[in-house]
Each structure stands twice: as structure tokens, then as C-alpha cells.
């Protein structure tokens, strides 16, 4: 039997404490490097890499050492230049791998698939759904014990993670302002099996997305029919339920704002019992065809359809250059959305058409509305993009940044990273937003900010 090895970057600071999957032997990248230099193995192992920007892997070395390689890409949501680094990485390994699976928000798939058709979505991480867990969920559902649930709302995980300010803001707002009316129970982090049995005891869970990514914690409650309250950044989890079931019992409820979340939770607390058993059987059935592939990878075919295919023959075309610039712009936008959590929505207004097509087609984010009102006659050599925070109960509308791209300088050189960075702390309303966040989450709460390096051609005005 071939062994699938999880290859970990030993020195990568961010990934240093990552746990290893059950029954999967782990190898540090540095060990491979040493082994590859000193010996020739009679049987080459298969390798499995979880890549996040910051991980360092030499594709040539991996090719010489491994018989086959699967790559899973994730955690792209709160790092410096995650997209540009991933483009570089995927470009270097795409010809060497059996498969590249994006364990990110599915909205990023069109972009990566366009550039690298080998990329696929993997919405269900095998870190979360272990091999036996689907069977175990099915057994639990068959015993119908899922219908005896406490009408409380469970939350699992940290309440004030500096990496996830929006989740912290929402959770602490619920605790601070609605503890009398919304019966929320905060639970410590637990492994998938423990979480499965815990979910069985609760009628619903509150599980916001991790910035713009799906939370791993979302999949387990679906398996035992526990209703999920989450935010719109978790879309489109709906794929796991039938239309009829969604209409009848709304097993998954998405909120676009804190206000709408509160309304949904209050309404739920007053509503009649859910058909937990049906919800659970439905989610299990939907996951059935996904199953476990020979490569131990779960996938949902629904999420891989309808993706535009690229026709780029060379990566140094103008089109590729525009894609890279759009990715850098999106890194800025994504970081704004991650940090400025007291705004629910942002409008990204394009003074000219430049980059509207790329961003609107390939870089989706439920809190970003791209807006184009027609071409201005002047300044066609400049792409000018305004980013505005839409007003909320607590925040006035404000222009946050202006992004400028000098199109007359478009060249391969222009997509080199400069020494300049985008720093969200320079945004004029950052202090105000931060004060509001601290007043809810805690006086000492400071979200981690990731400055994003700008391409030579991209400029940001605050």
C-alpha cells in the first residue's frame, strides 16, 4: 500500500502548529530535502501538501522525491499577498501534480481555474470530515436521536481571535447585547468526532465564516441536521440540501449583517421545531456521491461546474498581466473587508471600465459590490477605483481608499512587487472602526493586520 505523506514546512512560522491528519504519516519538508540529496528510495512515496502562502516548497525537489503529489490550498484569507504567491506556486507545481484542490472560499475557484485548469474545488476538508465520520453520522441519524435536541444555539471556538475580527465582532455583540433573548452556549474547540456528537445535542449552531472562507465547523452540523446560522460569506452551502427541504425548514440561514443575524436568531428562538432528522439525511445523501476519492479527497461536483476556461497560451500575455493586477487589487479589497468589520458592505466603483470585467468575473466576495456607471471620457490611461464603506447603524458612509493603476505602464515589469504596501490602518475611518470593535470585543482586542505589498503599477490613496 502506498503511503500518502503530509508534507509540512518545518520552518514556516504560520504553519508550524498545524495538526496532522489521522492515519496519515507526516514528513517535514526539510527532511525530504535532506533525503532527496543523500539517497535514492526504491519506492517513491505519494505526497500531500497543504499549501498556504508562506509555505516554502521546491517543486523540482518534490518531483524528484515523490511518485505522485496532491496539493490542497487553503487559508488564503489573512496573509500578505496570498493570491500572487499562490499564482507563483501553482504555476511552478501545476505540471507535477495529480490534482490541485482549493480548500478556500469557492468564489476564488473561477480565477485559479481560469489560469490553471487543473484546479478544483474541495469544499469539504478531510481535516474535518474524517473517513469514518460520514458513516458515524448516518448511524446517529438512523437512531433518530437527532430529533431530541436542546433548543439552544452552540458556538464552537475562540471568541476573540485576532485573525477573525468579523467573527469576533458578531459573537461578542450577541453576547453583550442579546444574552437575555438569544440562548447562546460557547464551547471550546474540539475535534470533528467530538463536534459531531456535540452537535447532536443542539438544535442549532452559530458558525460564521473565517473571513471570506468557509469555516470547517460548518460541515459537521449539516451531517446531523443541526440548523446552521452563518454569514453570507459562507455561501453557497445550500448545495447540501434539497430545494423542498430548504423551503420547508431552512436548514442553513445566511445573514448579510449583524442586524439581520439577530432578527433571524430571534425569529428562530420563537419558531416551531425543525425536522432535524430529514435535514440530516438530506445532507448525508448529498455528500454520498462526493464520498472519499482514491486520493482521500472530498469534492462536490455542483461547485465545480460552470467555470470559464482559459485560453491563455502564454503567461506573459497582456491578459495574464491584467489578471495579476486584478489579483493584487483584490488582495487590497479583501483585506479591507477583513479588517473593517463594522461595515457590512463595500462598493467598489470603477471610474473607467478597466479591471471591472476581471474583478467582477473572477474575484467574488459577498460583501463587495463592484459598480460601473459608464466610461468617463477623460483619463482612459488610468484605472481609478474608489472603495467606499456603505453606511450602517453605527458607521457613516465613507470613502476608504482610491486605487490607481497607470495603464500606460502595462508590461511584464509592472507586475513585479514593489516595496510599497497597502496598510489598512491608514484608512481614515480605521481608528473609529477599531474603537467600536474594541468596545464590543474587549479593550485589549487588536485584530492582526496584514499589509499587502503593491505591484509596481498599483497605487493606493487613503
Amino acid at each position: 500500500m502506498k503511503i500518502l505523506r503530509h508534507i509540512m514546512p518545518q520552518e514556516a512560522k504560520i504553519a508550524g502548529i498545524r495538526s496532522v491528519e489521522k492515519d496519515m504519516s507526516a514528513t517535514f519538508y526539510d527532511e525530504i530535502k535532506e533525503a532527496a540529496n543523500t539517497s535514492h528510495l526504491p519506492i517513491k512515496p505519494r505526497g500531500y501538501i497543504f499549501f498556504q502562502p508562506g509555505d516554502s516548497h521546491d517543486p523540482a525537489l518534490l518531483k524528484s522525491y515523490l511518485s505522485s503529489l496532491i496539493i490542497r490550498i487553503g487559508d488564503l484569507h489573512h496573509l500578505q499577498n496570498p493570491l500572487l504567491k499562490t499564482i507563483d506556486f501553482v504555476e511552478s507545481v501545476s505540471s507535477l501534480t495529480e490534482g490541485i484542490y482549493l480548500n478556500t472560499n469557492p468564489s476564488l475557484l473561477p480565477f485559479f481555474k481560469y489560469l490553471f485548469p487543473i484546479c478544483q474545488n474541495m469544499p469539504i476538508s478531510e481535516l474535518t470530515i474524517e473517513e469514518g465520520i460520514l458513516n458515524e453520522a448516518r448511524k446517529l441519524n438512523a437512531s433518530a436521536s437527532a430529533n431530541r435536541k436542546r433548543r439552544r444555539i452552540a458556538y464552537i471556538g475562540s471568541g476573540n481571535s485576532p485573525y477573525h475580527p468579523r467573527r469576533s465582532y458578531w459573537l461578542n455583540s450577541l453576547i453583550k447585547d442579546y444574552s437575555e433573548t438569544i440562548d447562546l452556549e460557547i464551547l471550546p474547540s474540539m475535534n470533528p468526532k467530538e463536534w459531531l456528537h456535540t452537535c447532536l445535542m443542539y438544535s442549532s449552531v452559530f458558525s460564521p465564516s473565517l473571513n471570506s472562507q468557509w469555516s470547517h465547523n460548518l460541515f459537521i452540523p449539516a451531517l446531523v441536521g443541526t440548523k446552521i446560522f452563518t454569514d453570507s460569506q459562507s455561501l453557497p452551502l445550500y448545495s447540501y440540501y434539497t430545494t423542498a427541504l430548504r423551503r420547508k425548514s431552512s436548514p442553513c440561514s445566511y445573514a448579510s449583517s449583524l442586524d439581520s443575524l439577530v432578527k433571524k436568531l430571534l425569529l428562530y428562538c420563537d419558531s416551531s421545531a425543525q425536522t432535524y432528522h430529514k435535514i440530516a439525511m438530506n445532507a448525508c445523501a448529498a455528500l454520498e456521491p462526493a464520498g472519499v476519492t482514491s486520493s482521500r479527497v472530498y469534492e462536490n461536483p455542483l461547485l465545480n461546474s460552470n467555470i470559464p476556461r482559459n485560453n491563455l497560451s502564454q503567461k506573459n500575455t497582456d491578459e495574464f498581466i491584467r489578471f495579476v493586477i486584478a489579483a493584487n487589487i483584490f488582495e487590497i479589497l479583501q483585506e479591507i473587508a477583513r479588517i473593517m468589520v463594522t461595515y457590512d458592505m463595500f462598493t467598489v466603483s470603477f471610474k473607467t471600465s478597466a479591471f471591472f470585467a476581471e474583478l467582477s468575473t473572477y474575484f467574488h466576495h459577498p460583501r463587495l459590490a463592484y459598480r460601473k456607471s459608464g466610461e468617463s471620457s477623460a483619463g482612459k490611461d488610468m484605472a481609478v477605483i474608489f472603495v467606499e464603506g456603505k453606511p450602517t447603524k453605527n458607521m457613516l458612509p465613507a470613502r476608504l481608499v482610491t486605487i490607481n493603476v497607470d495603464l500606460s505602464l502595462l508590461s511584464h515589469r509592472s507586475i513585479q512587487l514593489s516595496s510599497r504596501t497597502f496598510d489598512p490602518r491608514k484608512i481614515s475611518t480605521y481608528e473609529l472602526a477599531q474603537r467600536m470593535l474594541s468596545s464590543i470585543v474587549g479593550n485589549n482586542y487588536q485584530p492582526v493586520v496584514f499589509t499587502q505589498r503593491l505591484l509596481e503599477i498599483v497605487e493606493v490613496d487613503y
Binding site: 453570507s232 448545495s239 430545494t243 445573514a255 449583517s257 459590490a369 459598480r371 447603524k393
Partner: protein, 448 residues
């Protein structure tokens, strides 16, 4: 008129012809929004001095609102200064469900609200679906298009297309590619409490007043017949100060001369060359529409073959040159009040009622031409022609309250005169009217 195009994927590109036909309908402001990979484009016809560009992001609810048409709820005038967009935003913000908000509306509209959190689009149409809306779905790549005109669906591969009928509430979810809701917006009480002829007259005047433009002049194309005649005379009486235009060659000339004396109608002379030029414009700028798909008994198969469309184009074009952006149409009067017949005699082969209305309306409701048939065909003629000129057509006879009142009028009021209450009021007011139905055929009586 306004127009919109929604594509379920931002990667779908609209073809040039579709873009142009939608743009003509809303020439004053275009905005494209993309959220979560869905694309929303709206072309606005600005009827008031100030306007709100659509699509509109309602951030408190996570909705994107865009619509075509006009809302006539009294609050729009009383509290919103005629700005129906602001009214709709507040309504959606303060109503728990989109469906409940739609159900409270009076107007001529197609309204779409996209929920970002649910990834679904809810669409509501008014009772008679006065504004066009097409849905297209391509199963080969799970793409959707929802648009004012059918041409926008051409960008989809092998798409199944259909029109959303009137009085519908439809919700489409794009994550699962499924129609979650498809049901009537309102239910009818066909045999409700009996109304009177004077109720009908009062509601007819109200239907005119609420449709009158807030700024600019109102255009009424006038024939020698009942419907536009009643509209024109009541509008003059109500002080709505319309511009009245007619192509005299098509009409009963003695009647038109008397109407000219009384109302000051301007006559448009349609020469052969002018007719040809208008026909060319219709073929090039007005999106075609199949009549016989809805009413196979019609002799004219489609809008492009209809001389009436050319005449309408000529009149509306002249009205536009005179500064009018809103026009009243008599559409619906034939279909509702006579169904092309009188006292059991069919005046056209499309008639199914032959002008005879029973005491129990449940027996005939809904008859073929009421919501479908000629109603659909001729409504879309008005819509497509006016839309191509960047004008808005409004339909007093299709007012919901007026129609509900007609349904509950006593059978003798419906049957005693040609077109029931219309004919009776024409007679009581002494309005000169052609006694035989001529139809609107602009290629009749052309000057050389």
C-alpha cells in the same frame, strides 16, 4: 421605461444588439453592479428631474433592488414626493419578507430583488404584467439570464426561455439552480361585493391622475374609438394638460374633426415616405415580438409585421419631439370590456366571450384575451415601441382597482353598452365616437 439584464455569471457577455435595445429603453443612466459573481445591469429612463441610479444596494438587508415601471401607492405621492424608488427602499427595509412587500404594491412594474445572503432573485410582476420580463436558463452550463427583452438571452448557450406572466411572485436560487417560488402575487375575489357604475367612473379618473407624469407633458395618441377617446376627454376634464396626437388617415374623419374642435388634437400626416422611414426604424430599433405565440388566431404574426406598430412609432416619435416622455395607452379596454364582441356577436375572430358577461364571472374567468392572447401581444407592442424611443407607456385601463371594480359590476352594466361602463360613460358625456371598430392600421389613408 427602464430596462435591466441580470446574468447569473459575470462572465456572460451581452451581445451588441441586446445591449442597444435595452439601452434605448433606458437612455439616461446605466449602471452595472456585480456581487458575488452575479451581474446586474440597469438602464434608467429618468422621468423626474432627480433620479436614483439602479441597481440599488440595500445594505441593511443585503438586497440589490432594480425595477422597471412605476409605483402608484398613495404614500409615494404623500410622503415621498413621487419618488417611488425611495418608497421601495423603505418598504423593503421595513418589511420582513420580500413577498409581503411586493404584495402591498399598486403600479405597473417588474421588480427584482436579489438577496445576497440567499443567492436568490425574487421577481414580482403586476396584475397584467405590463412590463416585459424574460427568464432564460441554460442547463448545459447552469447559466441564467433575467432581462427586459429576450435578446439578452442570446448570450446563453441553448437556453430555455419563457416570459414571467402577470401577477406572479417568482424566486430563483442560483446556488442550486432551482425555482423556489412561483405563485400568484394576488388572489382574485371574482364575485366580491357588488360595485356600481359611479365607483367605476371614480376609479377611472383616479387611474388617470395617478399615472400622470410629475414633470413634462403627457402624450395621448387619440383614435376615433372609445378607449383613447374616454382617456383624452377625462384627462382634459381633470386638467392633466395632455398633448393629443392622431393620424387622421386611419380614423373616422368626421369624428376626429369634432374631437379636434373640442380637445385641440393635432393631426399627424403620414406620407408614404414617412411611413417607410418609420417602418425602417421599427425594423431596426424595435425588438420583435411574436403575436401568434399568444393568440394564434391573429392575422398578423408579429410586431414587425404590424402596420399599427409603425403608426404608433410615428405618433410617439412626434410626441417625443414635443417633449413628452410619458404616453397613455388604451390597451386592455378591448380585452377586458368587450373581448372584441358585443351582445354575443364577435367583432373579431380572436373573441371568446363575444362581449357577453355572465352574472357569475367565475364561469368565464379568466378568458383567453384577459391576461394572455391579444392582451399580451398588443401590450408588448406598446412596450417595445415606446421603449425603443426612450418613452414610457402607461395603461389606465389596466389599473388593478379599476379592473377589480369591473369584475364586480352588475352584469347589466357590463352588457348594456358596447364596452360596458366605457360605452355608457362615453354616451353620458356626449363624446363623439366612431360606431364601427376600425382598428389602428397606419398604412391606411397614406398621403402621397
Amino acid at each position: 421605461m427602464c430596462s435591466f439584464i441580470f446574468y447569473s455569471s459575470s462572465s456572460i457577455r451581452c451581445n451588441k444588439d441586446a445591449k442597444l435595445s435595452h439601452l434605448r429603453r433606458g437612455p439616461d443612466a446605466t449602471q452595472v453592479i456585480s456581487v458575488n459573481g452575479r451581474l446586474f445591469c440597469h438602464n434608467l429612463l429618468a422621468l423626474n428631474g432627480s433620479h436614483t441610479t439602479q441597481p440599488i444596494l440595500i445594505e441593511s438587508k443585503g438586497y440589490i433592488l432594480f425595477f422597471n415601471g412605476e409605483i402608484y401607492n398613495s404614500d409615494v405621492i404623500d410622503y415621498y414626493g413621487g419618488n417611488d424608488t425611495s418608497y421601495l427602499i423603505d418598504l423593503l427595509e421595513n418589511t420582513d419578507s420580500i413577498e409581503a412587500a411586493f404584495r402591498s404594491l399598486d403600479g405597473e412594474f417588474v421588480i427584482c430583488v436579489y438577496s445576497i445572503a440567499c443567492d436568490s432573485l425574487s421577481i414580482a410582476t403586476d396584475l397584467f404584467r405590463t412590463k416585459p420580463v424574460w427568464v432564460a436558463y441554460s442547463s448545459s452550463n447552469d447559466e441564467w439570464s433575467i432581462s427586459t427583452y429576450l435578446s439578452a438571452a442570446d448570450s446563453l448557450l441553448e437556453a430555455y426561455t419563457c416570459e414571467i406572466p402577470g401577477n406572479r411572485f417568482v424566486t430563483i436560487n442560483f446556488s442550486s439552480n432551482s425555482v423556489l417560488e412561483n405563485k400568484p402575487l394576488h388572489h382574485f375575489n371574482v364575485n366580491g361585493a357588488e360595485s356600481t357604475f359611479s365607483d367605476w367612473c371614480r376609479l377611472f379618473d383616479a387611474a388617470l391622475v395617478k399615472r400622470a407624469p410629475r414633470t413634462g407633458r403627457l402624450l395621448i395618441p387619440v383614435s376615433s374609438g372609445f378607449d383613447s377617446g374616454l382617456i383624452a376627454y377625462r384627462c382634459m376634464h381633470l386638467g392633466l394638460d395632455p398633448i393629443l396626437l392622431s393620424i387622421i388617415g386611419c380614423e373616422d374623419q368626421p369624428v376626429m374633426m369634432r374631437r379636434k374642435e373640442q380637445l385641440g388634437i393635432s393631426f399627424l400626416e403620414l406620407s408614404r415616405s414617412k411611413y417607410k422611414a418609420s417602418l425602417k426604424n421599427v425594423l431596426e430599433t424595435v425588438e420583435d415580438y411574436s403575436y401568434t405565440k399568444h393568440q394564434p388566431l391573429l392575422d398578423i404574426a408579429s410586431l414587425h409585421q404590424d402596420p399599427g406598430a409603425v403608426g404608433l412609432y410615428s405618433v410617439l416619435e412626434q410626441g417625443k419631439n414635443l417633449g413628452c416622455k410619458v404616453s397613455f395607452s388604451g390597451q386592455g379596454a378591448d380585452e377586458i370590456y368587450s373581448d372584441y364582441g358585443f351582445k354575443g356577436k364577435k367583432l373579431a375572430n380572436v373573441s371568446s366571450l363575444a362581449g357577453r358577461y355572465p352574472a357569475d364571472m367565475r364561469r368565464i374567468f379568466p378568458w383567453k384575451n384577459l391576461f394572455s392572447g391579444t392582451q399580451r401581444a398588443y401590450l408588448m407592442k406598446d412596450e417595445h415601441v415606446a421603449g425603443s424611443l426612450g418613452m414610457e407607456s402607461r395603461y389606465p385601463f389596466l389599473d388593478r382597482n379599476l379592473f377589480m371594480c369591473f369584475l364586480t359590476l352588475p352584469a347589466e352594466v357590463k352588457n348594456s353598452s358596447y364596452k360596458g361602463p366605457i360605452g355608457r360613460w362615453i354616451s353620458e358625456l356626449g363624446i363623439p365616437v366612431a360606431q364601427s371598430k376600425l382598428g389602428f392600421s397606419a398604412n391606411r389613408g397614406l398621403t402621397s
